[in-house]
Amino acid sequence: MTRTIIEKLWDSHVVHEQAGAPTLLFIDLHLVHEVTSPQAFDGLRERGLKVRRPDLTIATTDHSIPTTDRTLPIVDPIAAKQLAQLETNCTEFGIRCLGIHSSKQGIVHVIGPELGLTQPGMTVVCGDSHTATHGAFGALAFGIGTSEVEQVLASQCLLQRKSKSFQVNVEGTLKNGVSAKDIILALISRIGVGGGTGSVFEFTGSAIRALSMEERMTVCNMSIEGGARAGLIAPDDTTFEYLKGRDHAPKGTAWDAAVARWRQLPTDEGATYDRSVTIDADALEPMITYGTNPGMGMAITASLPDPANVSDPMARDSITKALKYMGLEGGKPLLGHSVDVVFIGSCTNSRISDLRTAAGLLKGRKVSPKVRVLVVPGSQEVKRQAIAEGLPEVFREAGCEWREPGCSMCIAMNGDQLSPGQYSVSTSNRNFEGRQGKGGRTFLASPLTAAASAITGVVTDVRTML
């Protein structure tokens, strides 16, 4: 019988099935961070339970961590307590914690792949909805709540119901100035933020095959913004080349055996999906969001939707409400709209290739004096590599802030935030009301679009600068 990679991953992780209950699924890698875990560790203590598999669990600090000088004390006492609590919990339960002073610290979805912990064929979970990032390696990776974090800590298993399979076939070649971020923003604007609910995306097609691992992570990362629990890409030589030699990747003959197994993972010819959409990569333009969810996106040259043209009353209200919050007028273009802040970072776009891309455009140029530009590397490792390549100097000379690794202004928990009414062009993943600071207004876009808009001070089509 032919199977998709989604079915293969499911089948190989079934621990127990019984009538009247969901399937018990084994979890190969559990990533833990400071925000969604404290109440789970409390639960373990209350029940007198241990962490079953500390060898399959790793923790880091990213969400509430400051991105300022790490030798300074943490100003926010509540954040400081939360960060300290994670270290305490990890020590008590025997989990390795790559905490605030670790040379491997970083955004959880950046360090998993970087350390070679994320591998094809795995199930990966984390108390964070962007866990889908790890699907780029051909893993079934999804976000979970704190009750489930506790369940995985205690049992290394989760009760799961099978999702539907949803093929996103991206064929063709991306034009200059168009990137992986634009693929996923285009998909979400097409199917909507609830379009993938109940599904797992498999991204296929020539345009996906041509992407680097870091670009694939950008695509899978935002699967949740299309409502899908997970998104994945079958492993291939690009995957194996990225993984080989990384800290936790198999070595020697174990590597060869692993690659042989991983080559069996891709979807069988003739296997069918519950749903499919096709995206023409040649026709894609740089994308940008204009509203208050990631589905409210459009080609950067397009005009804003006019609520008067929307027939469904609740959908019309949504757009009207979004445009009001954003201070925008339906029917007008977004190009040329003033920008106050540019954020280059987040688990979507903070890897070394993202920083190289942004630096490539910024080199020898200055950012607009009225724009604050934050560049936040995804991890200490990304930061080290950027330093080795001289990227911080490029950013600083252009007038950007070069900061310490963390989630930063993607979620604005750590003091990196917009002021009410400010506009940002952000390489992050969510433009919800207040996401980057109460009253802040977010335009989501690629690192190229963000860098171009930083230079001009207005929403800019990067293709005019290439």
């Binding site: 926010d76 390795r96 009750s147 949740i224």
Partner: protein
């Protein structure tokens, strides 16, 4: 968990699609290490003005919805992050059920683990409920989980879907972890067969 019992309640209408978890409880309140006190931050940025005073235009602050245990929401409620703080905030405030035409996956699972019942109804029932609550804020719905029925203010009884396992856990007031831990033999047997593995504790080069 307390067993989920049948109840009758007024509804708080929130006719907005795609309400995300950042609206239910903004991220800056997630620095807590506790589950307690989140009700005060429920819908914080819609609920309070810049000075921290209750915004009288927001439905939650209006007297007619005081004590409502049912939230009547737009399509795709709870999209966005995996924060379980969202159902914690809703239940601590006093909500016991949310009615919508659909829910985001993670929010739905988190709710079921916290005695917050996500009720999916067809579009016509959804519209009827909004009409009823607009006509009279005192309109009530009856929720019967064992029979999986919702009785609208007009007396119409409609079935709603809940998977059998979640229903069992809610009605009996038991949580999933106990069930999982009883599968120890199966877990140990599975672990013995695993091939691909990492050791996150290992010292690396």
């Amino acid at each position: 968990m307390k067993p989920f019992t049948n109840f009758e309640s007024r509804m708080m209408p929130l006719p907005i699609n795609d309400v995300d978890t950042d609206q239910i409880i903004p991220a800056r309140f997630l620095k807590t290490t506790s589950k307690i006190g989140l009700d005060k931050q429920l819908f914080n940025d819609w609920r309070y003005d810049a000075q921290g005073n209750p915004n009288p235009d927001f439905i939650l602050n209006q007297p007619q919805v005081k004590g409502a245990e049912v939230l009547l929401a737009g399509d795709n409620f709870g999209c966005g992050s995996s924060r379980e703080h969202a159902p914690w905030a809703l239940t601590q405030y006093g909500f016991r059920a949310v009615i919508s035409t659909s829910f985001a996956d993670i929010f739905k699972q988190n709710s079921l683990k916290n005695s917050l019942l996500p009720i999916v109804v067809p579009a016509d029932v959804h519209a009827e409920l909004f009409q009823a609550v607009t006509a009279s804020p005192n309109a009530t719905v009856k929720i019967d989980l064992p029979n999986q029925t919702l009785t609208t203010p007009s007396g119409r009884t409609v079935q709603f879907p809940v998977d059998g396992f979640s229903k069992h856990c809610l009605v009996e007031g038991v949580d999933e972890l106990g069930f999982i831990l009883k599968q120890e033999d199966a877990i140990a047997a599975y672990e013995a067969t695993r091939v691909d593995s990492i050791n996150a504790l290992a010292a690396v080069l």
